[in-house]
């Protein structure tokens, strides 16, 4: 088997954080892969909710969009989207929410709206989607965000979703009910909030990566936990399951669809 890619390392690390039976609000991309990998390995009874309204879905291949037919077909049931947000997310019935972002700061606040100014953006990103309320209401969130020169920044161009605000209890004072970003999974390792300051700290590194690498990847003076673990490399079982899932997915998405003429 070839060595794990950074995407695979991140996906496996995220999947391991999900306990069996937990209720996950799943986004497209790596979070969707991580949640389904967990379901196919150690967490068969995990409950996956996609914001399209599919509850308890068990897709055989990963969806390209948040609303692929596969999600509805394999769901326990399908509800209108407004109810996903009011009856499940806002009601506090989601254990884990996944978020991604173009930018993240040291308190786990996220930007997926614009690079540059809002009124005259250099780059217009897709926007908020479900993120602001996932960030507020999921009992905890996991953020998956690769390090690029512009992703781990000292100051966000725009705050789309709040993590710990400016730290030291700001989140608790804000009225947000969930505990916020409890893990940030990057391609160098894992950050977790300090219990008192709520600033993200480096708590684990992938094999072969150093603290100096991690520090170089982020745009602020990265705080290091007292103890920094090494993430255990993916097991063969994890890699087999993930690669099979990705292979099935690639094949399914490539398959020509009959145009309904």
């Amino acid at each position: 088997m070839s060595a794990a890619t950074r995407d695979e390392l991140m996906t496996v690390a995220a999947a391991r954080m999900l306990s069996n039976g937990c209720v996950c609000f799943v986004g497209i991309g790596l979070p969707s892969a991580a949640c389904n990998l967990a379901r196919l390995t150690h967490a068969p009874d995990i409950v996956l909710i996609y914001e399209s309204g599919t509850i308890g879905t068990k897709p055989d291949v990963l969806p390209l969009s948040i609303g692929d037919g596969e999600l509805a077909e394999t769901a326990s049931f399908v509800i209108p989207l407004p109810e996903v947000f009011s009856h499940y997310l806002q009601a506090g019935r989601v254990d884990v929410g996944f978020l991604g972002a173009a930018q993240i700061d040291r308190y786990g606040n996220l930007n997926s709206t614009v690079i540059g100014s809002y009124e005259h953006p250099a780059t217009r990103l897709p926007g908020a989607g479900g993120a602001p309320e996932i960030a507020a209401h999921a009992k905890q969130t996991f953020v998956m965000c690769k390090a690029t020169p512009r992703s781990y920044v000292a100051r966000l161009d725009f705050c789309t979703s709040a993590g710990f605000g400016n730290g030291v209890g700001a989140r608790a004072r804000s009225g947000a009910r969930g505990r916020g970003p409890q893990a940030v999974i990057s391609d160098f390792g894992i950050l977790r909030p300090h219990p008192a300051t709520e600033e993200l700290q480096l708590t684990a590194l992938f094999e072969g990566i150093t603290s100096a690498d991690a520090q170089a990847a982020v745009g602020w003076a990265l705080s290091l936990a007292d103890r920094i673990d090494t993430v255990a490399p993916p097991t063969d079982a994890e890699m087999d399951a993930l690669r099979a899932l990705n292979a099935r997915t690639r094949e399914a998405h490539r398959k020509p669809v009959r145009i309904p003429v």
Partner: protein
């Protein structure tokens, strides 16, 4: 049903979609009314206020063709692929015309549709907490609970002049039934002044519904029989989403010239959804 089953899609768009109207072509990945959007482009509608949680390819096309002056939305990307290049070009460079944006989160926009469906003036949510959106959108405000004193986010109701949906089937009275992922379609339908629906098939009698999703004939302005009307999105039970097309759209729409040529060939010079689909089948885009 005010206009019955007798209209073609072209006639229905001509009658019900006016320049300057606020129009919601809803559909959350599933049952997106592509055929209706193409017809709006063919008829050169201008100054539309487009409304939709997830403007995807059809809104990218309408915006790129200059139909819109304003967009109300909550997530504007090509799902699982990346950017909507025409939307970006409009926001970043005002091309082909400036586009005013009214931006929300999904939860906020869902609350606004629900308020619209219930004819309440605003919707509320525990939302936008500690985010920058309210500072940039005066349509996100606060309301105080008269019992607890808590402050909640408030958004004005969305009541489109016209909502356009695609559904699996209608009966001859104009009752609409849809199933599968339904997004905020039902709320958008109930919130609208005019409701236009394209359907895969028209049947004598709908299957027994009980607690299924039905829009009754007396809230529907017109039903148009339009098989394949959601392609390249999908109609659950009828045909699958063409994920490969969504991936190809990224390169089709990336540059203005290529986009224009594609629209010319596949939309402007085809007369209807049947010809549009045939044009794609003849030479895959």
């Amino acid at each position: 049903m005010s206009a019955g089953l007798s209209l073609t899609l072209s006639e229905a768009v001509e009658r019900f979609v006016a320049d300057g109207a606020s129009v919601a072509l809803e559909g959350f990945t599933h049952l997106i009314p592509f055929a209706a959007g193409h017809e709006i482009i063919r008829q050169h509608r201008r100054d539309l206020h487009l409304i939709r949680m997830t403007p995807d390819l059809i809104y990218d096309q309408m915006i790129g063709m200059g139909c819109a002056r304003k967009l109300t939305f909550s997530w504007g990307g090509n799902p699982g692929v990346g950017s909507l290049h025409r939307l970006r070009d409009a926001v970043e460079h005002s091309w082909p015309v400036p586009l005013e944006i009214d931006e929300h989160s999904h939860a906020g926009m869902a609350a606004a549709y629900c308020a619209g469906a219930a004819r309440l003036p605003f919707g509320m949510l525990r939302g936008y907490i500690d985010t920058d959106l309210p500072a940039h959108n005066p349509r996100i405000r606060q309301v105080e609970c008269p019992f607890t004193g808590e402050m909640l986010a408030a958004v004005p109701a969305i009541n489109p002049d016209v909502t356009i949906l695609h559904a699996q089937r209608a009966d001859r009275a104009g009752n609409i039934s849809l199933h599968g992922i339904v997004g905020a379609q039902r709320e958008a339908a109930l919130a609208a002044t005019t409701l236009l629906v394209t359907v895969e098939e028209i049947v004598e009698a709908l299957p027994p519904a009980m607690n299924g999703i039905v829009l009754p004939h007396w809230i529907v302005s017109a039903v148009v029989h339009c098989p394949g009307g959601a392609y390249p999105s999908y109609a659950h039970g009828c045909y699958a989403r063409d994920n490969a097309f969504y991936q190809r759209w990224d390169s089709i729409a990336r540059e203005r010239a290529g986009f224009g040529a594609w629209m010319q060939r596949h939309v402007l010079t085809t007369r209807d959804q049947r010809e549009f689909l045939a044009s794609l089948e003849a030479v895959p885009a």
